[in-house]
């Protein structure tokens, strides 16, 4: 059978995506390695060719480079991480120009001849959708979902010279304050929402989180509008997707976009003074109470019980 050509795009830490590439029948796997790193490491998993970029470029230039690479090598499957807005801008441009669909949040892939059957999370993360697609397709998936099998190969490396695309001029870049929370890996999360009236009041949640040994999460308005917390705390469809043992939502109403980010949590506790908050329909334990009374009392009692 013919080889199926697959291109994986990402940094060296995205190599989990090779695991998805290996689900293709007899794949010939190439890797566009962004941000530097040891290319020979990729050879452990059957990658035969590694491309690097001679310079860091903007989205339009990367898209152009991709379009050229795809038409030169005629890839059937192109796999990318979903991680950031840089990719979210680049990939659809490249896909439209190479007449290909992009399937997002991919769970699995099966190949039958030149048809791919792809399973993914869809409908606002409310359903598992199976689709059939032929010919060229882009797949986006979190690298941690897959585990590549070892298969040592010889790797050749080639550096690409991206062409600058004029049109958008970057005038200035202002760094955002950096947090260091990796909320997506947290075991226990205390998450805060608009039920808190002032930024100082968040200390109630921080104290509770400290007793529990939990990380602090938040809903969109807290990170994006009010900026009370940095965006690494943000849980939701456009923030981070989390899957902790405990998700304790304090003063969060439970909009679908927020729920979509925490659906895979094991136990969900909701604390809200409004008995009609939609979150109560999606919880294991729901406490109807003013958070300003309940949270300090809970913290105090937990401290006694856990002897902290």
């Amino acid at each position: 059978m013919d080889m199926t050509k697959v291109l994986v795009i990402g940094s060296i830490s995205d190599l989990g995506l090779i695991g998805l590439a290996q689900k293709v029948e007899s794949p010939e796997i190439h890797y566009l390695l962004l941000g530097g790193g040891d290319a020979t490491q990729l050879g452990k998993y059957g990658v035969t060719k590694v491309y690097t970029l001679s310079a860091q470029v903007d989205e339009a230039s990367l898209a152009e480079t991709l379009v050229n690479l795809i038409s030169t090598n005629n890839y059937s499957v192109i796999i990318t991480p979903p991680v950031n807005k840089y990719f979210k801008t680049t990939i659809p441009i490249a896909a439209q120009k190479t007449s290909a669909p992009v399937l997002v949040d991919v769970l699995d892939l099966k190949q039958g001849g030149n048809t791919f059957e792809v399973t993914l999370n869809g409908v606002g993360n409310r359903a598992q959708v199976t689709v059939k697609v032929t010919d060229r397709v882009f797949l986006m998936a979190p690298p941690a979902r897959f585990k590549p099998v070892e298969k040592v190969t010889t790797v050749t490396t080639e550096s690409l010279q991206p062409k600058a695309i004029t049109g958008i001029k970057v005038v200035s870049t202002e760094e955002k304050p950096k947090g260091k929370v990796r909320i997506e890996d947290a075991e226990l999360i205390v998450s805060v929402g608009r039920g808190f009236k002032k930024q100082e009041d968040l200390k109630l949640a921080f104290e509770l989180a400290e007793v529990l040994g939990a990380e602090i999460g938040c809903s969109r308005p807290i990170a994006a509008d009010l900026k009370w917390l940095s965006e690494d705390h943000w849980v939701g469809l456009s923030g981070h997707k989390v899957r902790p043992k405990l998700y304790m939502a304090v003063g969060i109403s439970g909009q679908p976009q927020h729920l979509a980010g925490m659906m895979e949590s094991k136990t969900v506790v909701v604390i809200n003074s409004d008995p009609n908050a939609p979150f109560f329909k999606n919880c294991d334990y729901g406490v109807v109470e003013d958070l300003y009374k309940f949270v300090p009392a809970l913290t105090k009692k937990l401290r006694e019980i856990l002897k902290k």
């Binding site: 993360n125 409310r126 959708v129 199976t130 697609v133 001029k169 506790v269 334990y285 009392a297």
Partner: protein, 266 residues
Amino acid sequence: MEILALVKLALDTGQLRVSETKVDIDSTPLKISDIDRNAVEEAVRIKEKAGGRVRVITALKYGPLTRRQQEAESLLREVLAMGADEAYLIVDNALINSDQLLTAKAIAATIRKLGNYDLIIAGEATIDGYTSQVGGPRVAAELGIPVITFVRELRVEGNKVTAKRDLEDAIQTVEAQLPVLVTVTREINVPRIPPLLQIRAAMKKPINRLGLADLGISMKSPVEVTNIVPIQVKRKGVIIKDGTVDEKVDKLIQALIQEGIITPPR
């Protein structure tokens, strides 16, 4: 100034009709995708300053068409009431369940058919698909114009656009010449709630319908949806609402111990 706003009539996933084994998309209501309201608001504000008009374009993505068309038109009246002047509704069976490639081609073809434009505004993503593909990068790629994504502040002066992009770790300020496509985030503005007078006036504004044949498109979607299975999350739904604060605290702590989340030292 000729401004186009791209709007999706999204599946209201908050009201998704789900049974044990099936997601009933056909009977789930549609709504204007939240962030597209911000797009329309921004378009109308620019018009109010610079003059010109705002035309709204949407492609109907959910069937059955017989029932959805009416629903689509009443939703479009909402954005017309916000101050848009005219709406274009692309209705075609080939677009139902189609992938983003075809949708973007249909929207781009409509834009070309409308003639000249200066600025196209869309939401950063839709609330149902949330892929951030169609309204922004794909349509821009199809039209061959630059795209500025994730914009939370936008200024248009003469022929020049200055935008602040909200990226993960930085705010990036960029400049471009018109025509350009911009996708906006929810933070860019607060969409207005139109007064009754505007709602009445919107009833008289034109909604034009187009099919793929009118646009000269005959391609089929490369993606075929074969199965949709709801992700069922069974939650216990224990509501603790009676008693004093301390009694509620005790009940919750008991539950956390039973779930094995906290373990009191002996």
